[in-house]
């Protein structure tokens, strides 16, 4: 397969899959009723994900073999430089893989979780569309096109957040919508200003056009707008306020997607667009480091006193975004490739761990509430003694949260370590101080992760646990797979090096250090 053929199909398959998922699902739903349990939408979605995976494999193969990014320009005339360049580099590979893996697991998981919900086919179709948007977001090399993918990702996710139609989920949905729309306006303004200065939207062309002159104040303002605009989706403190609401109210599979890949996709968009503004990387680096510190502190402190499990996990996403920001801050501010590698590694691992945590907690939510037609928040007390009835799910959640807390031999330790190493290697006292601060934050985070584990291993199950439904195999399968991955990557971190090292290399090329 020609490399760009694979790339184009990689970008198109999810959308074709989304359309097929909806059409087939809808026609069946019309025949056998909306809340049928035999809706084939999920299988169509799974198949199209597998097909996407095949094209991703070919693209990855091409990238690894040649070691060079490749791309294709879609333009009016052949070789027209003004077209949109779709380019597959290390960052694209990382984001696409992470997104696809999590979507696949979430779809498996939803087989039980979303079974019989009204609008199941819409759920899967939008999930596929969101996946496709995120894959495209990683692959585009055009600033405006980046925004279109970004906006598409947001549009596909609004309904998923508010899927349950209850007052709380609608509330979370509208807050999410308004705040991401504001962010998206800032991004557009930033793009307009860059377009004004550079006269081009291709990222490389922007880099060259702006590189010739000294940075004008307009470009600085544009960068700030991009940082804040994408920062809303990335949940930088204090732009984070939508996150705990949306993450806690969405169906658990969607919470996993939001926390595991959507905010990271925002981060990737931010990094890509900021990286091409020449001669400013240092300032963006310091800003990212600052936001990283703030995110860790606020995320951990807010999580400390939470009583709702999903809200607690949502706040911990803030803290983990902080770790990634420290890695990328070191990359921007100090040209540390190891920092970028650490940031990307933590992005991957966080996807696994937080995805696992949300799916595991969701499994409890499902067996204790949803399966009985109730929709309440899962409180920490509800998990008392869960391990006695659900040993597998309890173990998975324990692995996830202890990994999030950075305890070896789980993968979260290794990715944090990579970031810490990069921080120390800068030999800047400020960054070293920040790394120590990050380590202190990890200890602080144990202050809420560990009680969660204790709660699940109580001898006396809560009444709710005793009445819970059985854990279905579809709920259990993703949990097992992700638990194994979290442990294996803890012992053998370099297994993922093909992804995070390549991505870090690509980012450093963008920064042209």
């Amino acid at each position: 397969m020609r490399e760009y053929t694979a790339l184009i199909w990689l970008l198109m398959t999810p959308f074709l899959g989304a359309a097929l998922t909806y059409l087939i699902g809808r026609s069946v739903a019309r025949r056998v009723g909306d809340s049928s349990t035999v809706n084939p939408a999920r299988w169509v979605a799974l198949l199209s994900q597998l097909a996407t995976g095949v094209f991703l494999y070919f693209s990855a193969q091409a990238l690894w073999v040649s070691g060079r990014p490749f791309g294709v320009t879609i333009a009016r005339l052949a070789n027209d430089v003004n077209g949109i360049l779709l380019r597959f580099d290390g960052i694209s590979l990382l984001l696409a893989s992470v997104v696809l893996v999590l979507t696949f697991l979430v779809t498996l998981y939803s087989v039980t979780y979303m079974q019989g919900e009204v609008g199941e086919e819409k759920y899967y179709a939008l999930l596929m569309a969101m996946t496709g948007m995120m894959i495209g977001l990683g692959c585009t090399h055009d600033l405006f096109n980046l925004w279109v993918w970004f906006e598409g990702m947001a549009i596909s996710s609004y309904m998923l957040v508010a899927f349950y139609h209850q007052s709380a989920s609608l509330e979370a949905g509208i807050k999410y919508l308004v705040q991401s729309a504001v962010g998206s306006v800032f991004v557009l303004l930033g793009i307009a200003l860059i377009f004004l200065e550079a006269g081009s939207l291709n990222l490389s062309a922007i880099h060259m056009a702006l590189g010739s002159a000294s940075a004008s104040p307009v470009v600085w303002v544009a960068g700030a707008l991009l940082l804040i605009g994408f920062g809303v989706k990335t949940a930088l403190v204090p732009l984070h306020t939508w996150l705990p609401d949306a993450h806690s109210q969405a169906p658990s599979g969607i919470s996993a997607m939001l926390s595991g890949v959507v905010i990271e996709a925002g981060l990737v968009a931010m990094l890509r667009s900021l990286a091409v503004l020449p001669g400013m990387a240092e300032t963006w680096g310091y800003l990212l480091l600052g936001f990283g510190a703030l995110n860790m502190l606020v995320g951990n402190l807010m999580a400390l006193r939470q009583t709702q499990v999903k809200r607690l996990l949502a706040y911990s996403s803030l803290a983990h975004m902080g770790y990634m920001l420290i890695g990328f801050g070191a990359a921007f501010g100090f040209g540390s490739q190891a920092g970028a590698a650490g940031g990307f590694f933590h992005l991957m691992i966080h996807m696994l761990m937080k995805g696992l945590a949300f799916l595991g907690v969701g499994a409890f939510l499902y067996t204790l509430y949803v399966a009985k037609g109730k929709h309440g928040p899962l409180m920490i007390e509800d998990l008392s003694g869960a391990a006695r009835r659900y040993p597998l799910a309890a173990f998975a959640v324990s692995v996830a949260v202890l990994g999030l807390g950075g305890l070896p031999p789980l993968a979260g330790f290794m990715s944090k370590w990579q970031i810490f190493v990069a921080g120390f290697a800068t030999q800047s006292p400020w960054v070293i101080g920040l790394v120590v601060f990050a380590a202190l934050n990890s200890v602080l985070s144990l202050g809420y992760y560990a009680p969660l584990v204790n709660r699940m291993y109580r001898q006396q199950p809560s009444a709710l646990v005793l009445q819970g439904e059985k854990l279905s195999v579809w709920l259990a399968l993703p949990l097992v797979l992700m638990t194994v991955l979290v442990v294996v990557l803890g012992f053998w971190p370099t297994l993922a090096a093909g992804w995070y090292e390549t991505a870090a290399d690509s980012l450093m090329r963008l920064l042209s250090y």
Binding site: R76, G83, V118, M159, P217
Partner: protein, 167 residues
Amino acid sequence: MLIWHGLVVAGIVVCAILAIRAQRLLTSALWLAGCSALVAVLLYLMGAAELAVIELSVGAGLVTVLFVFAINIAGEDAASLPSPLPRPLSWVVVLVAVGLLAWRVLPELLPLPWLRVTDSSTFSDWVWGNRMVDLLLQVVLIFAGVLGMMGLLSERKKAGEHEEESA
């Protein structure tokens, strides 16, 4: 020339302000339509004729219809209660943000001459050619949007199954 531009710009801002200040939602939507129409005029004046048409039909037309529909269903909810933010704080933060933007960007714009358009490409060259990916994505966006709207509007048939735990 400049006067026309000036008048339209003033009209846009005034319409926007009135849309915000209007007590009734329907009035607000209509002022928004006015604002949108004036933006279309400005776009035309700037040489973006095709876009002006689209803005007029979509921005001033379709969106207004949508608003009117929504307001009809939702009903007026007129009472303008005070926001939780202290008013001076809102003023200060908006003025500072906009002021900073103006301070950094306007001086760069001032010396730029308002040249005649010499671009020989056509709108369709761009939409159907160089920006085709965007265009295809619009299709997906519409698909996702329609699905999202339908999903949000669909009646929960298993309503009994989704009883809320009122807090």
